[in-house]
């Protein structure tokens, strides 16, 4: 038998039911695994082993996620735990309530366990913007795990978590999942309540699962989805079982290849792996159709206007009064605000708040913010037109492999441009999933490549079915760590 920590959630639950081991054994196995690999990965900011063990001992394994420990990105509130968003601004903060996704996980029997590192306030694509620690890619610890949910993806890859929750504003679940060789799902906007997720860009943010398999992601989505009176943007949709379309082939499925997602600038080896994956989908019965998303090249520009504008408003709450860092001995209220925010926020957060404030300021609002909202309409229409012809789109998740730690920190624009394949999804409010599609050799190490499927809004069941069909035709590779 393989180690407990190697198992998928489905295998773990089968083990519970057979009586091979208990949820408490699973929590202990995680704790041992974390002790052995996390010193070199750095995924966890903190964890409360005793609370998790107590919950495991009372766990009801007949529930949908009964006794399953799930790691939590440090942007999601869990009652009584820290929630720093990897920022000094929230050092020492203790959550006074459970986010809706957490109460729903608990109701499904799961055990929220641990706080996972991220880019500060989810701003970044490498987790290097954490104020606390570097998280390393388990495939090559000299490289970044992706971001902003870098801890959530690295912990699953390093088998120090079975599955985790992340949040995705412009690719922050899918891109780290791709670079770490695991599965990451961004649900459609409104599918999952954002109540208790510290807001970055409210019209784009969505919570979703990262796991070893598409099936595990579907199971977690079943638990966390649904209308929530605490989030007016959560949608009241008929209850469905997101595992209902798993285990099929791709016969009769039309998959679109967006021509604008296969342009120069992509790593050649990534392109090769993705093209092989596309042929594999054809082999599994899919009909391939070339489609066009003509406004793709504007998505990064639109995103960095809209996301920073919303962030500048959302992060105005960090004023050093009700919670968060407060500067010592302010000489007046203005000094209090300015120094508290100077001392509490890191560079990337300041950059984005300044950019967002600028594009919303009088005289520039129409030229930047309003124009970006209009181009957002065109980007949404591109997807609406494409989904009239096909059931899903297929493309790379990231144009690059995981890069070296420190390689791009002084070049924010270059870092932003690498989000090209993930951010339009959030602007359009549709769903997307990244699944591993192979390994590339670099400096004597294997690095994972992610394949992305995009589905129309609220079409997660079909999206998960398609991703599962592809995934089931591949072997799951594990990083050689520990």
């Amino acid at each position: 038998m393989s180690a407990i920590t190697d198992l998928t959630i489905s295998e773990l639950q089968a083990g519970f039911r057979r009586g091979d081991f208990t949820p408490a054994d699973a929590v202990r196995a995680l704790e041992d695994r974390i002790a052995s690999v996390d010193p070199s990965v750095g995924a966890y900011l903190s964890r409360d082993f005793d609370t998790a063990l107590a919950a495991a001992e009372k766990a009801d394994i007949s529930l949908p996620l009964g006794g399953v420990p799930i790691g939590i990105k440090d942007a999601i509130n869990v009652l009584g735990e820290s929630c720093t968003c990897s920022s000094k601004m929230l050092a020492g903060y203790k959550s006074p309530y459970d986010a809706t996704v957490i109460s729903r996980l608990r109701a499904a029997g799961a055990i929220p366990f641990g706080r996972l590192n991220m880019d500060e306030f989810a701003m970044g694509s490498s987790t290097e913007n954490s104020a606390y620690q570097i998280t390393r890619n388990p495939w090559d610890t000299s490289r970044i795990p992706g971001g902003s949910s870098g801890g959530s993806a690295a912990s699953v890859a390093a088998r120090e978590a079975f599955a985790t929750l992340g949040s995705d504003t412009g690719g922050s679940i899918r891109q780290p999942a791709a670079l770490c060789g695991v599965v990451g799902l961004k649900p459609s906007y409104g599918r999952v309540s954002r109540y208790g997720l510290v807001a970055f860009a409210s019209s784009l943010d969505q919570i979703g699962p990262i796991a070893r398999t598409t099936r595990d992601c579907a199971g977690i989505l079943n638990a966390i989805t649904g209308k929530d009176p605490h989030d007016s943007t959560s949608l009241d949709m008929p209850v469905e079982d997101f595992t209902s379309q798993l285990g099929r082939d791709l016969k009769g499925v039309k998959i679109g290849i967006p021509r604008e997602y296969f342009v120069d600038g992509m790593d050649k080896r990534v392109r090769e792996k993705v093209e092989t994956a596309i042929r594999q989908c054809e082999h599994l019965g899919a009909e391939l159709v070339e489609v066009s998303l003509p406004h793709t090249s504007y998505a990064v520009g639109v995103y960095y206007i809209i996301a920073t504008a919303e962030a500048s408003a959302n992060l105005a709450r960090f004023d050093g009064v009700r919670y968060g860092h407060r500067a010592q001995n302010p000489k007046d209220l203005l000094d209090h605000y300015m120094r508290s925010r100077e001392e509490g926020f890191g560079s990337e957060v300041k950059r984005r708040i300044i950019l967002g404030t600028y594009v919303l300021s009088s005289g520039y609002y129409d030229a930047y913010y309003l124009r970006a909202q209009k181009v957002r309409t065109l980007i949404r229409q591109d997807f609406t037109n494409a989904f009239e012809k096909v059931d899903a789109l297929i493309c790379p998740t990231s144009p690059d492999l995981a890069f070296k730690i420190g390689e791009r920190t002084d070049d924010p624009l270059r870092m932003y441009l690498a989000d090209i394949f993930t951010i339009a999804t959030n602007l359009a409010g549709i769903c997307g999933i990244s699944v591993p599609c192979g390994l590339v050799e670099e400096d004597g190490k294997s690095l994972p490549v992610g394949l992305q499927f995009l589905g129309k809004a609220m079409d997660e069941s079909r999206l998960l079915g398609i991703a599962d069909a592809f995934e089931s035709s591949q072997a799951i590779a594990r990083p050689p760590i520990g």
């Binding site: 407060r326 300044i354 209009k374």
Partner: protein, 95 residues
């Protein structure tokens, strides 16, 4: 589209963020490049296009006006940097 005309210190003050000289110089250069990049949006004719504020066609969400318990005051105040007598203490506003 207007040309980038960004004064980082001025905007940082609007955003209530003090900047060091080093930060101001660095952000000025970095954000000017980002603004140059987004200038490309000016190439599109959007005169006939409606703006999208969010992706879902949901407007004016109402709920019943029913009181429900808020967060526990002690727990909330535990996060305040300064508190006294069950209240948050703020920096003096009036001379």
């Amino acid at each position: 589209m207007s040309s980038p005309n960004l004064d980082v210190r001025d905007v940082a003050r609007l955003a209530r963020i003090e900047l060091t000289d080093e930060e101001a110089t660095k952000f000025q250069a970095q954000l000017s490049r980002v603004l140059e990049y987004v200038e490309q949006l000016g190439a599109l004719d959007v005169s006939q296009v409606e703006p999208t504020a969010h992706a879902n066609p949901v407007f004016n969400v109402f709920r019943e006006d029913v009181p429900h318990p808020g967060l526990d005051r002690k727990v909330v105040l535990a996060n305040a940097p300064h508190s006294a007598n069950n209240l948050v203490v703020v920096t003096k506003v009036i001379e």
